[in-house]
Symmetry: C2
Subunit: 295 residues, 2 copies
């Protein structure tokens, strides 16, 4: 498989993992957001993921988001793709020198992004409806909601995509990964590599673990800090709970419309890193995913 | 989306459709065969599906099967790919002349296959474990289980891939499609196009409809003609039944290890044709797939 293959598989395994409280998974659709839209989004993102193997990160990201939105009819995986694009680029480079994908590899990629990468990132917001917070008072010219209109300001200020991420790193978990060597992604990847069983089940476990670490950015944006802290605390209490209790939590969040989507982004990125580092889908009898029937 | 995109999406929508009695679906794994293996198979088949847009059908099919087997660790979609490969080729040609994909287009593709296509088809059996029936007594030299060893005999007899399919057309539903203009695939595609709702649900309905039409080839191969006829009759009785009754039938077939896999192949191909002819994944509130929660 190529890096683009693995990135596409990571998107598919992420959405298949269940229970993933508050998110679309193999067992749950959400209002206005269906499982099959995530399948289509993973197909549509493909061309951009292939471009990420060798092309500029910003252009690859915009192509991936545009293809995702065309195929799924909505925003299914914007945040996932923001993490995957530089990881795919870093993995393609690491493979060319026969090395494993490391945090240093992806740091080198993001630190070398340019104003053009930033411009493509802003254009990507014109393809999909993305929930974002208000920009800092001194950075209104760089509000991502301006889309391509912000490009002259980007060019005038000489702002790279890395710089854009730095502006949001304190309040956006994906931007924080970008500017700190993807620490939560690589730690979660290690847990996925060390675990046993179907990869979709490992994805669900990784999701719950990531949810205990920090307030989910999308939940903060949509419901405020205290709801996000409550979700984090409940996830912590459930970290060793039986599956039924996690499923009940999943149903509760879905009913309340509380969607920790940024934690799903981190999960997809962690799956990707683990796939690059050698885990693979395997056969055998499933014991805890879906309805399993022994012959 | 490209023809390869649509073919990949058809593979994903097919496995997501539920209930699909006797097959892996969004709600069911089978013994030794998991949902995530089908996701991986669809990713691995990608390169071959792209090749099918412009390259020889046999070579594209072998590449798709090889990639599928590498990624999934098993045979998830051999039959699907046998139908999809010439359909992708025909669609790419039809699009180049701005026409809709028709039975005549795909007939032209399969009728023009060569001995080299047949050789690649035989090589594909070396990548995956495929359940096949005994060959006719006068065609033992062309037994597909010989794999690449049969190639000298193919060349000596001047047998094209179309000729190989004609040898099996009476007892193999996929070979029958190949040699008769894909009639069941195109009829099922029309039903999918005419239906409403999520595409995965339409796939499940199309599967049940196809199951009523003829004994499933894989069930005949693994369990004999009478079991296959019984499955067909039960599907006929359930064609307007409530979802719970179809689900009970699905659980029963899974418990008995009765897998109408050839009917799933036809379903994937029908989804592909419908996608080529204009259906698309759409948003909106799901009412009958998975656990749906309204905000």
């Amino acid at each position: 498989m190529t890096p683009a293959d693995r990135a596409q598989l990571a998107l598919l395994l992420e959405v298949a993992g269940t229970p993933k409280p508050g998110n679309v998974d193999r067992e749950r659709d959400l209002a206005g957001l269906r499982f099959e839209q995530f399948l289509a989004g993973a197909v549509g993102a493909r061309e951009g993921l292939e471009l990420a193997e060798s092309g500029p990160v910003g252009e690859a990201f915009e192509a991936a988001v545009s293809g995702m939105a065309d195929a799924s009819g909505t925003n299914t995986q914007f945040g996932c793709l923001l993490l995957l694009t530089p990881l795919v680029r870093a993995a393609a480079r690491a493979r060319a020198s026969a090395g494993d994908l490391t945090p240093d590899d992806v740091s080198a990629v993001v630190e070398n992004t340019t104003v053009s990468d930033a411009a493509s990132f802003y254009c990507a917001f014109e393809h999909a409806d993305v929930a974002v917070q208000e920009p800092p008072a001194d950075a209104e010219a760089l509000d991502v909601r301006r889309g391509a209109d912000a490009i002259p300001d980007l060019r005038e200020q000489g702002v790279s995509l890395y710089d854009v991420m730095e502006l949001s790193a304190e309040r956006d978990a994906n931007a924080h990964e970008w500017t700190t060597g993807f620490p939560r992604v690589f730690r979660a990847a290690e847990r996925i590599e060390a675990a046993d069983g179907p990869l979709a089940d490992r994805a669900a476990s990784a999701f719950l673990g990531l949810l205990t670490e920090a307030p989910d950015t999308l939940v903060v944006t949509q419901h405020g800090e205290s709801v996000a802290r409550d979700v984090m605390a409940r996830a912590y209490d459930l970290r060793n709970a039986p599956r039924e209790e996690v499923s009940a939590f999943a149903d509760d969040l879905a009913e309340r419309g509380v969607n920790p989507g940024t934690t799903a982004d981190l999960t997809a990125a962690a799956l990707y890193v683990a796939l690059e580092r050698g885990i693979a889908v395997e056969g055998g009898i499933s014991t805890d995913s879906g309805v399993t029937v022994d012959e």
